[in-house]
Symmetry: C3
Subunit: 461 residues, 3 copies
Amino acid sequence: MTKNSSNIMALSPNTSNKRETVCIFGTGDFGRALGLKMIQSGYPVVFGSRSTQTSSLIPKDAEVLSHAEAAQKAAIIIIALQRQHYNFLIPLAEVLHGKVLVDVSNNLKINQYPESNAEYLSQLLPGARVVKAFNTVSAWALQSGTLDASRQVFVCGDDMEAKQMVMDIVRAVGLTPLDKGSLLAAQEIENYPLQLFPMWKFPIFLSLGLTAFFFFYCLALDVIYPYVYQNKDFSFFIVISIPNRICPILALILLALVYLPGVLAAIIQLYRGTKYRRFPDWLDKWMLCRKQLGLVALAFASVHVLYTLVIPIRSYVRWRISSHTISQALNNKTEPLNTTNAWLSDSYVALGILGFFFFFLLGITSLPSVSNNVNWREFRFVQSKLGYLTLILCTAHTLVYGGKWFLNLSLYKWYLPHAYMLSLIVPCIVLVIKFVLIFPCLDKPLTQIRQGWERNPKYSE
Amino acid sequence: MTKNSSNIMALSPNTSNKRETVCIFGTGDFGRALGLKMIQSGYPVVFGSRSTQTSSLIPKDAEVLSHAEAAQKAAIIIIALQRQHYNFLIPLAEVLHGKVLVDVSNNLKINQYPESNAEYLSQLLPGARVVKAFNTVSAWALQSGTLDASRQVFVCGDDMEAKQMVMDIVRAVGLTPLDKGSLLAAQEIENYPLQLFPMWKFPIFLSLGLTAFFFFYCLALDVIYPYVYQNKDFSFFIVISIPNRICPILALILLALVYLPGVLAAIIQLYRGTKYRRFPDWLDKWMLCRKQLGLVALAFASVHVLYTLVIPIRSYVRWRISSHTISQALNNKTEPLNTTNAWLSDSYVALGILGFFFFFLLGITSLPSVSNNVNWREFRFVQSKLGYLTLILCTAHTLVYGGKWFLNLSLYKWYLPHAYMLSLIVPCIVLVIKFVLIFPCLDKPLTQIRQGWERNPKYSE
Amino acid sequence: MTKNSSNIMALSPNTSNKRETVCIFGTGDFGRALGLKMIQSGYPVVFGSRSTQTSSLIPKDAEVLSHAEAAQKAAIIIIALQRQHYNFLIPLAEVLHGKVLVDVSNNLKINQYPESNAEYLSQLLPGARVVKAFNTVSAWALQSGTLDASRQVFVCGDDMEAKQMVMDIVRAVGLTPLDKGSLLAAQEIENYPLQLFPMWKFPIFLSLGLTAFFFFYCLALDVIYPYVYQNKDFSFFIVISIPNRICPILALILLALVYLPGVLAAIIQLYRGTKYRRFPDWLDKWMLCRKQLGLVALAFASVHVLYTLVIPIRSYVRWRISSHTISQALNNKTEPLNTTNAWLSDSYVALGILGFFFFFLLGITSLPSVSNNVNWREFRFVQSKLGYLTLILCTAHTLVYGGKWFLNLSLYKWYLPHAYMLSLIVPCIVLVIKFVLIFPCLDKPLTQIRQGWERNPKYSE
């Protein structure tokens, strides 16, 4: 066994405690930062540079040589150059043959070039073993050592052994390597650090638009209307009262929009009689950002909860309650307890609390570390069963809250419905369709279709 | 080095950007979905089927051949068949010799067969290299691409190289492989997708039972008693008042049940004088679901907090306060500030807030991503020290809340104690035993026993 | 391919379902616990001991032999001895040659010895392949099976194949191996289980000190002052009112202290004209515990929120409001709505809610599983943009809350400023400096310096 393994050991980069020399091409900001970090981790570092003068900027213990000389000293060469300068490496092809070249470059735009920088490097120098790594870490972070953010370094490459050697360096400098497979993944890895919450854009812009609409709607009905007709100044409503109307409305609408694409997909599948045709593009995109929609809805619901709980602290509310009490006392009468009112008020509050509680549970299960610990069956149980329970509770909460206003026409200002009625449209549609889809005459074929059955095979692609 | 490594490279599945052909046995739902996904990821796919007609359902770019022909074209064969049909593979033993067979099958019940499907396949075809993978991913998820849930694919197998090849495919289709070791893990992997929160069953059923008991107990004392004797209709109490009594009671009892098995275990170890004998089965099971018990308790505590914070918004409470104020005003008297009352009310609320705060901290540390980042010493510090602090604060919160009622016999309806007194039994037992166990005369031998010392070695197994 | 791979397969520890024998040196607590666990996982276990009598404590199915005999039976030997006894192994050097030695030892103090135990073992027995593992798991946890905490086992070693074999054992006993690279990592791995929240010490002691200071400050102004001059007993303020003053003050100060080192660093970089000189040590340490400072601040903010929301439930507050209402009723007057007051009260509450909401978002993104899923650009966007937004909102919340008191000199007790004014000093300094640094005349050179430009290269090291 020892004999056999010695072969393997010769290939392993870490056979002794002595670290192997690493060469860095390029003395720019990132090259220097990485070089310093590697020297601190015990690696002898050699820089390859056009000018071989030791600049004051280069870490003290590092040697600076010409590209060719530096490359000969190391098995691993980190290419800390920009893509535009890669063709300078072609004359070095011979000396780089068989070496591990680590491409650390990033682009300025997503999909800037047809092929990734690492694949381009691999095409220029077919004899070298190219590994993509380190591009997701910033020079600033390496230098300052304050790696609060992700310590993950994505690594990909076609050569397993070269990848292992690079992953050992990643570990040695205190980061966590994550093997992303072959060099085909380089494009994705190069795009990764350029993204800024791509999945969140649609939910956030949608909710900003809806917020603006409902803000002006409520402003007109709750502030401008009483000012025009009753000459009352309720301008301070825009601080808490109106936000506390917008937040629950948006939470409810966005939550319903999480479940709408699901029922639309079911209708399309039932209509087509097959699951093997792609959904329209807009539906696919919608389905992919359901988690983000749900979390934005949860954020609105949370703010609504806080706004509601501070109601009794508000100076205006204290004044209103106290005025009401004083006027009763002055008129020498005591209102009896209105049991119906107590029922309605308590039900509405209790439904809201339960709805928020289950909503919060849904939010917790969408944390990556929690969802990684549940299997598919559990995840679908939570997202589907708990999700619809949440939607039902929140819709009921809104219905009970405003039930009395539906019928009372005198409360319609400017013949416009109250804002919360608008918020009920989408959730009611979703719940009605879902309710219809539960009937066996629709549920049975739908289940069959989802298991692969086709009503009309000629329709399939 | 380059020479040596070329050997290794020849074995590596990803030596060039060109993906190797993959064969799929079976054209069922899962086989087709996986095939489509692999074609999209750049793999040439060949289906092995009894009928070699290209069905309209099979992805366009895939070839359909007989089993033997298809198997010869690929090094990796995905067996997308049911276990019952595995014996159809025996005649192909020769052509499958040395091939990597990927078992993707699932069963309908946990531990349906004595050995796992993958081990069964390995026994049928001893010459093949069997790898278990992909069974935790659903065909639906693969097809729709909406992998919100876990992207983890558990992989196990006895052949390291075969496992690596399969893990590369897993990565290529956008999932995360997780090496679970040898084929012995297949049973566990096959059971995994069939589970539905197995550890949560006991805590949830226990809390449902306790909820039902306390609901009827409170209903009798708070709704039926005043209706019978005072003819008052407090039926609306079942919406908020009674749930807000049940939630804290359950939170406290379940929290105490988290710490009860620990003190029971200490007593058993002290009695036996050794730690080397197994605890009774019920105690072992109880200890394993402590985390879930604690989280259910936290859920009840959170709902209790919300129910408590909405108290001043409730229509009934507003009416009660306003009636009280009016009656004072009409009687022309002002009650002076009762400092004792202010002390009691504030202490009770402050203890509750601190208790909930530490309880919430405990909950956060049980998130998988947080508990993975603390070591054993830190985890025990949090769970034990913070846990008992939480239990003490919550018990004190309950004691201060109801202190005055213990002595006032006129408040006992139907000679039954108030529900919250029942809730104090378990936590007080736990705290008293724990307090006794802290005394040096018991703590010292216990520590010795836990370090491996035995009072009476003949008792040990 | 099959031919080539057979070579590799011979080296792989798991080529068949039959587990290989594992030898354990030492029959202490940890050795026995690990042995039992491995027997349960299907490994034949042999113990190496000075006395070869089978003690009743040793698991039944294990053999006990002399060290030399036991070592010959296995390829993997787990050294469950203390470092002081490692030199007993030197005479066995020959029989241990080529074997995989697993060092499981821990020390009593951090950095107790100049080199790690594993490296020391490796120096004593240069022919053996030493792997560090299992030291982060406690014997108690292995025995009881209640592994609620981290299941991660850090593994490091210079020999790749030996490391693989040990990682397979780790997986087999139900734990998760984590490759930490070469044996150089052993020191860190040995220190890990001895730590007790090292990064949290400074934030916690700082906040304890500040809490004590502000507690006595508020006690003097709010309890002692009215008792001395007005003979009023407000001692119950120390339960809720004073904590609810301390919590927001500490939250605001600690939050500002998270952003202060950043602006100090910017000033230092601007002054020096380079980023290539190290910051003073105290600044480096401060920057490294910013996350912990922020989380402690969030904890104080959360408790402040809870304390604020229970205000209307407090017996004292109810008495105050009711007295005020009664006195108005008795005087037969009704105060009109004070719109300015309503604006101020609502703004202050709304700013607090929004500030807390963004603070909470910041807290969520610092969860390890969330921060691992965002890239650098997203992380810096959240931490920097959202962070300053939070600081601005919270400072504004405090300013609006106490705005009226700044000018009203009669409210200054003992000529001391109100405590919340002290809390505004640090956040205002941070915000003013940050505002100044945004001006182009300072922002432009700062950006250049951070991209690697130097004003005066001679200054650099």
